[in-house]
Symmetry: C2
Subunit: 376 residues, 2 copies
């Protein structure tokens, strides 16, 4: 199993750390935020936009790409990189989460997940083997094991069954990866267990008994209170091997990234910066603003005068509001560029602070800037 | 009146010519195609995209910008250039065409055009004076006189009344421009007269009696047969002063650009390359293709292997089809980049051919490439 991770610095007062992931398509410094490129494009952006915003790795969705354009298409390009013109690393999820959240009539058996496409109702079976095979076709730098996600709240019994099937599927994923992948691209295991700390421990023990390149916490940010998510992460992250990257899936807000980095997480992905951008919600150091608000109508200032992104260097709030109100396509690109720049600068700032031994101060400043703004 | 135009070369066998327009925000070689930036953005593109595609001048729509975001907003930016981050020349239309085609309950009097906004139904009066004042607020490099457009077919009497009011409005535009513009930005007059050659002559005489920086033919490409448009242009273009730029408004297809350049036209604008791009219609030397067509599903080739645009250098038909079928925002940008590159390369090719004395050959090659493709 590739062992692509090295811890490069540690915070003295929290579990925060920096590290370096060495992947087939390049190296990635952690903590890292991975923009979500669901259908072979981070919505509204071209690859050059991502590079300019500082993205080093993006996420692709196996479920979506399997249905559209289909593996036979991506195979012609020897993988997702050439298909979408992105030459840096890609992590793909297993498809499990979308099977549970998007597909219709999903039925879980030991064999896998049978579901109907949300696009055309066609019937499909996603097994652990199939998920790995698809991800190998995509030529992901990091593949994820198929897991069973559960809703929140979940009964203890359902959470336990889900983590057990997740562990058995992980073994099948590992075997398929060994037999078919060439073993050069990394494979991560996923810890489940709902909000039950002892079940998270049980899942972590089962997964770490198998050797994976890295480990993820799945099933967080599914509707539970924020503090509960932090508590589960705080309990579960130390159960994962210190020398492997620790990835919290589908998380989160800027605060979540700061709090979970403090608890030892290395990797994040979330649709929030990109989706919110398309809804006119823009992130700044001093909190979020809604560009549709009429108070921006004649405002010649940028979204954030302290921001160095392409959007803030070249466009005013008045122009961005006009584009957004007119539903102009450029609005989505400019807003997305800004929000991703914000997220990627946030994790870059954390990396720098951890390296320099001032992460605690960084965290304090992060909250102070927001409080000062809300007092205004 | 600024006299910004110089003829730089002439075709020996047709009326085609090259020229140079010296405008406040830069120089523009003609024949030129002006991408349409209706609402302060050429749909789906950023200014850098336009520059990369070779755009030297773009068009803004006075009617649209007056309603959204409104002149008070653009005034804060001292004009449209800074508002939209475009530092090259801009031509604005007068608003007349949209008042007739988009607005509701339009009523023409000697005073001007009273209409209801297509957005919120609010009532407005667009007079010649008002149109010029708005265009001065936009700080256009080239302002257009308010004209009265008529539908096709039109009775002779209606065509005559429209050209007469257009001439009287042109005088009022000229007066307003002299009194309020600083007289540095150019003002063009518009020749009307429907499809009646003698009325076109009457309109041209009235307009050229006033001194404008350039002259446009309005009221073409409004539903008449193509050959009729060519005939009207062929008759009317020589009636305009040889030392002034001649602009055919709202035209046209690639063939129209070639045919009308041969008849002595210097400037064009049309939504066709941008709008068709958003509908998946892509232009190539060998004709147009529909990217949604299933025959592109697994095609690893670019739209046009001979095209040097960003889209063709980096993306396959299969990827573009996937983006288009998935309604991904990036589809609109990549398709628009390609189509504008095609149009801008076409006029650049004509300029080069005219300069080198081989325009007739260029025109022949243009048709040959299409015929060869359609025979396949």
């Amino acid at each position: 199993m590739p062992h692509p991770f090295q811890v490069t610095a540690r915070c003295g007062t929290t579990r925060a750390r920096t590290g370096r992931l060495s992947l087939v398509h390049g190296t990635v410094d952690t903590p890292v935020f991975m923009p979500v490129g669901t259908l072979g494009t981070v919505k509204a952006l071209a690859p050059e936009d991502l590079t300019a915003a500082g993205a080093r790795i993006i996420l692709g969705n196996t479920y979506h790409l399997y249905l559209r354009p289909g593996c036979d298409v991506i195979e012609r390009f020897s993988g997702l990189h050439r298909f979408m013109n992105w030459d840096r690393p890609i992590l793909t999820d297993s498809g499990g989460f979308q099977v549970f959240s998007l597909a219709k009539l999903t039925r879980i058996t030991e064999e896998g997940a049978r579901f109907q496409s949300h696009i055309d109702g066609s019937s499909h079976l996603l097994t652990p083997e199939k998920s790995i095979e698809i991800q190998i076709t995509l030529d992901s730098d990091i593949l994820m094991c198929l897991d069973q996600c559960i809703a929140y709240p979940a009964e203890r019994r359902a959470a336990r069954e889900a983590l057990e099937i997740t562990a058995r599927w992980a073994e099948r994923c590992l075997r398929t990866w060994r037999e078919t992948s060439g073993e050069k691209n990394a494979l991560f295991g996923i810890v489940q267990g709902g909000m039950y700390e002892d079940l998270r421990r049980m899942s972590a023990e089962a997964l770490t008994a198998m050797e994976f390149s890295g480990y993820a916490l799945g099933g967080l940010s599914v509707g539970e209170p924020n503090q509960m998510m932090y508590d589960v992460a705080e309990a579960a992250l130390p159960l994962l091997p210190d020398d492997r990257p620790k990835y919290i899936m589908g998380v989160g807000t800027p605060e979540d990234l700061v709090e979970l980095t403090a608890r030892g997480a290395d990797m994040f992905d979330c649709v929030m910066p990109t989706r919110n951008a398309r809804n006119g919600q823009l992130f700044t150091r001093r909190g979020t603003l809604n560009i549709a608000n009429s108070r921006h109508r004649t405002d010649t200032a940028p979204i954030d005068p302290e921001c160095g992104c392409y959007t803030c260097r070249n466009y005013s709030r008045a122009y961005l509001r006009h584009l957004y109100q007119s539903r102009e396509i450029l609005a989505y690109r400019l807003n997305t560029l800004h929000n991703l720049h914000y997220y990627l600068s946030l994790v870059a700032g954390m990396r720098e602070a951890i390296r320099c031994g001032r992460f605690a101060g960084f965290r304090k400043d992060f909250y102070n800037a927001r409080e000062a703004a809300s007092e205004k």
